[in-house]
Amino acid sequence: MSRNDVDSATGQNSSVNRIDQYRRHFVGGSIAAAAGLALAPGLILNSVQAKPDDQAVSNKNRWGLLIDTSKCAEGCTDCVTACNKKHGLNPVHGELTDAQWIRHVTLKNKQTGHQIDMPMMCQHCEFPPCVDVCPTGASFKRKDGIVLVDKHICIGCRYCMMACPYKARSFVHEAHTDQVPDAPRGKGTVESCTLCVDMIDRGDGTTACAEACTSGAILFGDLNDSNSEISRRLSSEGGRQLRAELSLNTGVRYQGL
């Protein structure tokens, strides 16, 4: 594939090329993986391997999602429900102020009446604006590409919420006493989709939303691994970044828009 391919949908350099750019830094890693394949013929390298608990995450991986909105059933909120349940996001005062890690967005073309339902969450940008504006360093990007809030440092100023072009972050307005063990959350801090970071660290190889999606619209995987299903589908079918013109190189890609 030529490096100058232009994404027909966005008029931008193809998103896949951006990933390639990123991947070029890890040629060493790919060679090691290839050698592993050669040493053990017949053994299929799992795209998502469990990392030992005491090992730090590295930029060998870049986690992402591929969301095929054409598979999203009208009005379906299974992924939102699963996310809320996994993270104990209980309804408090209604959707104006409640935390939403995944928003169910409906796009309607007024001319044709064609309607698309899709989930919107933190897009896990390579160049996240929320991290740029954070005055305390609480907003940060993990080496493996996951954008997080370190709530231990967050002072609740909400600059990141203003900076995010995807409206992906929420503020916790109320004190809570019913948190779940895997998702600590409390009043006065900002939060957003963590890409189910605890599941990734455990090596589950999926996220709560992808797992809950019965129509297979959400695929989780490693964008840095050219053998992963997500990379193969992106290179054969393509996938689009939301607001690609901002050049944020998002880790969440969409099809069917």
């Binding site: 349940k85 209980n90 409640d98 019913d178 063990p181 600590p184 409390g186 009043k187």
Partner: protein, 172 residues
């Protein structure tokens, strides 16, 4: 030395020694222990993750270190994980109830000394003070918020109504 000053000096010295002594002895009560010296409610394991005197004096250091390791590097070893402390230490009492840290005069293991020693933590404003077991369906504590979480999706819809002034009102 002026002899008239001696009583005052002695009094000062005694007070000083007494306060140092009681501080060193740890005048906070610590977790409840039965007549055999075992902590009640009984932790789920035999031993702590560090020798007792080490964990007593240094648990905050371990926890704060672990916090940064997990948050930023994804290191999820169990030894100094807060979740694991709670899993082992927050167990039901003889009535089957798990004490909460924010209870007054709390019997929750982590609150037992903190309240007595006036140590204020913000950890449990975010971190749950209940063990993972308590969240499995069978052993669910009968508390409103927990049943809410497990209610079917339809009943979880946010309820927003506007009152006559057009302001948002909470519907119970």
């Amino acid at each position: 030395m002026n002899i008239r000053r001696l009583p005052r000096l002695l009094l000062t010295a005694t007070l000083l020694l007494w306060s140092i002594g009681s501080y060193a002895a740890g005048n906070y009560s610590g977790p409840d222990r039965d007549e055999n010296g075992n902590i009640v409610p009984t932790p789920k394991g035999e031993k702590c993750v560090e020798p007792t005197d080490v964990i007593r004096a240094n648990h905050m250091k371990f926890l704060l270190h672990q916090r940064d390791q997990t948050m930023h590097k994804g290191i999820r070893t169990k030894q100094h994980s807060l979740k694991e402390c709670i899993n082992c230490h927050a167990t039901p009492d003889e009535n089957g109830k798990i004490a909460r840290v924010f209870d007054e005069d709390s019997k929750h293991f982590c609150a037992s000394c903190h309240q007595a020693a006036s140590v204020k933590l913000d950890c449990f404003e975010c971190h749950t003070d209940r063990p993972e077991d308590a969240f499995s369906l069978q052993k669910l504590p009968a508390d409103h918020a927990m049943s809410e979480r497990l209610a079917p999706a339809a009943s979880r819809k946010p309820h927003v109504v506007l009152n006559s002034q057009g302001q948002q009102d909470e519907q119970k």
